[in-house]
């Protein structure tokens, strides 16, 4: 143990109450920081997982016509890019999927024929979004099987005239597995389907409108000439979806959209909430820093004589400074460890708190994420705040002239 650390420990034990109070600030700052980050990211992560699990990490849509720049330039030419011609639907689905699977980041892909229809059951009618899917690749690409809350996916797979209905839509239409639902075709005729299962993604916009049907049936119902209006992808690393989307656009000449682009608005809300929580909680750590600054400043003032004695015995300025920085480090270290434990307990406790959210997300309890980075950031924040708070008193202690103190005692 170094001499400054030993003396710091001894000084610290003589100002237990003040140091404990300072430490409490760090403990609560770190704990609450971890807890709020776990919550805000928990909701965001749930939303991301749900949306990727339902709509894929990447979606390839309509074909567009490549833009060519002619030789003749208009006298009033603008720098704005010309609009490209977009053709609805994907015609060469098999070829695109075959090439896509060659990419290492692609885990699975599935064609989807999408259209808007009216759904009717009993006396209720509403607009719904029809997803015509091929069950086997769709199961590999999305979490649809896991999202089934009532009924069986196999009943859907084995019956081409069956559908899977989003659970909030099913609630509205008051249907359960085994019931009949009617879907209105663009030709104005109602087609009758059996509800095979109810699915809950947790994302409101999906659960209130989605109906899954078999692709071939959906193509006939929607009277589409093409077999798919989009291909959705499951990616090994969803964070790399934007770069893959750009690559796919150039490669296939079809519009491609990453989940980040698709959910940009919602992600911004989550990001803003998370940042806001972090700033608010950082203020607690900042206040703890002020407390530590006060405690250490008082400690320096009360130890002026001891500092002079230490200097007379050959302790360097850097040793004196280290004594007070060590005290700060002890507060930060012990406070952070206890704060991390408190943060974990708070996070666990919060995750058990029942809530009833039926808006953007569907959940019956607080959603949390267990991420070691929250603990790392909280600890780093505490260490930085405490170091800044300790530095000024430590520097001041190091600059004290021992002779001034000693001369004051005996001239």
């Amino acid at each position: 143990m170094t001499a400054p650390l030993y003396i710091a420990l001894r000084f610290a034990t003589h100002r237990k109450r003040a140091l404990l109070l300072s430490m409490v600030g760090v403990v609560f700052g770190v704990g609450i920081f971890i807890c709020t980050q776990a919550q805000t990211q928990g909701f965001a992560q749930f939303f991301i997982n749900s949306t990727i699990g339902s709509n894929g990490a990447l979606v390839l849509r309509s074909r567009f016509q490549p833009r060519y720049e002619g030789m003749v330039v208009s006298a009033k030419a603008t720098s704005a890019p010309a609009h490209r011609n977009v053709f609805e639907g994907i015609t060469n689905v098999s070829e695109i999927m075959r090439v896509s699977r060659q990419f290492s980041n692609v885990v699975a892909c599935s064609p989807v024929l999408r259209g808007t229809i009216s759904a009717r059951a009993g006396f209720e009618t509403t607009t719904a979004e029809l997803f015509g899917i091929d069950p086997t690749p769709h199961l590999r690409t999305t979490d649809l099987a896991k999202q089934i809350v009532d009924g069986r996916f196999d009943d859907f797979r084995n019956n081409t005239t069956s559908v899977i209905v989003g659970h909030r839509l099913a609630d509205f239409l008051e249907v359960i597995p085994g019931d009949t639902i009617q879907l209105l075709s663009p030709g104005g005729e109602y087609w009758r389907f059996t509800v095979a299962a109810i699915a809950r993604s947790g994302v409101s916009t999906i659960d209130t409108s989605r109906v899954y049907a078999h692709a071939r049936v959906a193509q006939r119902l929607l009277k589409k000439s093409y077999e798919a209006s989009m291909i959705i992808y499951r990616l090994r690393d969803p964070d790399r979806a934007p770069s893959l989307a750009t690559h796919f656009e150039n490669l296939f000449q079809h519009t491609a959209q990453s989940w980040q682009e698709r959910e940009e608005g919602n992600l911004q809300i989550f990001s803003t909430l998370r940042m806001s929580a972090a700033i608010t909680v950082s203020l607690i750590i900042l206040l703890a820093g002020f407390g530590i600054f006060n405690v250490l400043t008082m400690s320096v003032l009360s130890k002026v004589r001891e500092i002079a004695i230490l200097r007379s015995m050959g302790y360097r300025r850097i040793d004196i400074s280290a004594i007070f920085l060590w005290q700060g480090a002890l507060i930060a270290g012990i406070g952070s460890v206890i704060g991390c434990v408190l943060g974990a307990l708070l996070t666990w406790g919060i995750s058990k708190v029942p809530i009833h959210i039926r808006g953007l997300l569907y959940t019956d309890h607080f959603l949390v994420v267990w991420d070691w980075r929250h603990y790392l950031w909280a600890t780093l924040l505490a260490i930085i705040a405490v170091f800044i708070a300790s530095y000024v008193p430590a520097h001041r202690a190091a600059q004290l002239q021992p002779v001034d103190t000693l001369r004051g005692s005996s001239l």
């Binding site: 001499a3 030993y6 003396i7 001894r10 003589h14 004589r305 001891e306 002079a308 004695i309 230490l310 200097r311 007379s312 015995m313 050959g314 302790y315 360097r316 300025r317 850097i318 040793d319 021992p402 002779v403 000693l406 001369r407 005692s409 005996s410 001239l411």
Partner: protein, 237 residues
Amino acid sequence: MKGELSLSCRDIERYLGEEESRVHALRGVSLDVESGSIHAVVGPSGCGKSTLLYILGLLDEPNAGSVNIGATPISHLSDEELARRRNELIGFIFQFHFLMEDFSAHENVMIPMRRLGQMNESEMHERAATLLEAVDLGDKLRRLSRHLSGGEQQRVAIARALANDPSVILADEPTGNLDTGNSQRAFELLATLVREREKALLLVTHNRFIADACDWVHEMKDGRIIVSHPHGQRISV
């Protein structure tokens, strides 16, 4: 004078304060202190005794003149280097003992050793115990210094000053806060240890009997050493 030269200064000038309150505290002071000898500096309050002691102890810098420890000049040394030499070569004893109140006797003695960093914990404990036994405090090693009497505290300070086996001990009125009996005992102890261990001792004192018992007495007045007497000569304290 016999023995090796431990500490010396030449033509020391020191000003204290700023502008109108500026005081010429030391005016061309020169002094030689040999190992195994005891030197007393006497004089009225404010004559510059403590200022001289702090300069010789490398705690303060002179405005002019030079200080040597052994054969080494210490002018132009960095603050870090001065601190290292203070730790290795100089032991301080102050009037008000200046112990760490919340540290035990043996912890106080170990403070300079910790800085030196040449011994492990058990060796430091052993040395501190030996030194405290030498000052007759072997049975109070673990007692907090604030729970010791004034005489005992000063003896702890003496043990602490000897912790790193320094070649020079500087004492600023080491018995100034003790009664006559304790003063006498503390000085005798210090003198014995210094002579046994071949240290150089320079002490500032107002105590006539202590000054009389020193090998050399330097009388100061108005920032100057006006006269230096060897042992036995009458002085005008």
